[in-house]
Subunit: 215 residues, 4 copies
């Protein structure tokens, strides 16, 4: 609908968003892994989960928005919950990964039809809505959807940090190479989950931030 | 995830889509109408429903994809079902409209963050996926989201028909003016729901089309 | 080319841009007006020139970037200068308009393939490069390219002012209606060129701004 | 301007385009190479020129559109000619490359503000205007603008061939790796300039194509 009344009505109804200059993008972790090569991704994804799960919890507690950007698996039905249900059915390869990273109600969901989190999605308006300038990027595969999303984020001039131990790929070769290319070619920052903490602390040592968007 | 394997895996899993050169776009009809002016839209929306409901059923039966493009009401959770549930609660003004136009499982849903159905959404990739060239456009408000979506469709060079009696606005003045402008400025075709039928029949009189994408 | 070296090299070479939170967008004024109805636009365009010309000079002097966004007339050769030359040849209807609004070397040029200044152009990256949040919009036709560009600017959440006496259309009816719709439907500010001055002065009465981005 | 009259007027005035399902994209070859590392690119670029120059001539003769997509070097003035002049001044490192690949008047030019040929440019509307479905991609650097443009072309679902000996990078390692990744991850076809010929001939052996869009 949306006449100006409709939009502002919509805004009034929306949960009051806590604005934050940083957001955590979690890419394609709600995934059945039921594709050729998925069996190779699984062990790396399980390692990823050990770091990404706690980090997401810590960031949520610090008021940082967590945004799941996930393949729509060609369903085009704008229903993230169905994607989650599909990926957590018994016997599905990606089940332990999806369950360990189960989104919380306050998290945001963006469904994407292609590799990049930015292509034909509402990610940019969402980030503007949240006031986000800095992206912490995680998920899989390091060398595909994370890589190409990071490149698009670079063209959109976001400040980007890719979290090396919160990403997974089919092999450590593909993973390492992608991270190396992001650093060398695009100047993207790459660090581990525990360095997110240290980096932020280092910047504001006296008054550890507690509000929205501070880590 | 989506390495090439992931994507083609996704494709394999998706319901086999019937391709169609025509699609019906239904804009912002799943709407609570709980905004200033919404009470003026309601009677026009109820009239719209009488034509749009039967047309959507007829087109579905003819294999034409029906795509709901709907405001996300600033929820950013990629969950069309929640939007439907919200708009059909007891006491909500838009309830009779939403219920009368309840989507069917085979329909497609696209959530949009702004007026235009094309802005920061997956509509273009979906239309390419379906093979759509011709858009039948309906919904509300005629002079806002329908109008601006039609303009974007025009820039994307789709063949556009706006269905005059399947649209609604706050007043017949706003409605008529918007349709007049679409015709005069953009050369958009405007006709009634029952003319969709006649137009198509006229073109293929001997063998009334039955397959996907034929009306 | 553009490895990270290439880009920063490019940046180093570029003229040092004065950043400004305001920019003047001048739409489709470099126009031959050689289309049916162009003869009706001409007198209104000549009136527009009387206000827009001095305003552009005043804004340039105040350090406000002036951005010409112009139809590419289907030439697709990324050559704004050719468009200017074409429109100022002897006997061309739009010649006096184009000459009176001749761009200066420091101005920016964006060629657009469709109605909207934002569709398939580099306008958003340019505005981000300049640090622009507020758009002063002028040009022709009020009810087409100005109107639809203003709508896209609205979806991109720029602060928009359309300058009523710096726009032109085929008739005063079309012109007035478009401005009325922009105000009513999108909440766009509409004012005259001389009000730009007053508005800004009112805000900073003691220290009339002189720097970049102050009017 | 562009009311419907303006646009169709524009179309009438445009040179009659020969439509073609194939186009040659030449990326960032009009380049001064005056950035750190540019000296390493130069010898590879000179080798590239030996293959790309003749190929471009052959394709033009066969009616295939040649589209230069080039960095705007942060000038934002929509003037490709100035970019060419800048890169061919005496003493400029990229001069021999730019001169050897000098565009012809019938070629198309698209200026891009970032790595990808598709980001914030009119490339998609141009390709639709030309009827292009298949892209032959060349230029530099293989691992940056060619690579990321190929990925965007993939998301837009073009049929892509990257011409290995018509691309250049800072090192053969970067070059080979990028081509390998395009093949492995995106399923992009990679071949040499002389294979373009053979491939096409093989398909239509009896009637060697002469018209627009046939090679």
């Amino acid at each position: 609908m949306a006449k100006s009344g409709a939009r502002s009505g919509g805004k009034a109804r929306a949960t009051k968003e806590r604005r934050s200059d940083t957001a955590l993008l979690i890419i394609d972790v709600i995934n059945d892994l039921e594709f050729p090569g998925g069996e190779k991704v699984l062990p790396w994804a399980l390692r990823m989960v050990e770091r990404l799960g706690p980090l997401a919890r810590r960031l949520r507690a610090a008021g940082v928005p967590v945004i799941y950007v996930n393949d729509n698996f060609n369903h085009w039905r704008s229903n993230f919950r169905d994607v989650y249900r599909h990926c957590t059915r018994k016997g599905i390869r990606g089940r332990p990964v999806a369950r360990a990273l189960k989104p919380e109600p306050r998290d945001y969901f963006v469904l994407k039809p292609k590799h990049s989190a930015f292509f034909a999605t509402s990610l940019v308006p969402l980030l503007e809505h949240l006031g986000t300038k800095k992206l912490l990027m995680a998920g899989m595969a390091t060398n595909l959807c994370v890589f190409f999303s990071a490149h698009d984020a670079h063209m959109h001039e976001y400040d980007i940090t890719v979290l090396s131990d919160c990403c997974a790929a089919e092999s450590d070769g593909d993973h390492d190479l992608a991270l190396d290319q992001l650093q060398r070619f695009l100047g993207v920052r790459v660090c581990r989950a525990d360095e997110v903490k240290r980096t932020r602390r280092a910047r504001r040592p006296a008054h550890p931030a507690k509000g929205a968007g501070r880590l």
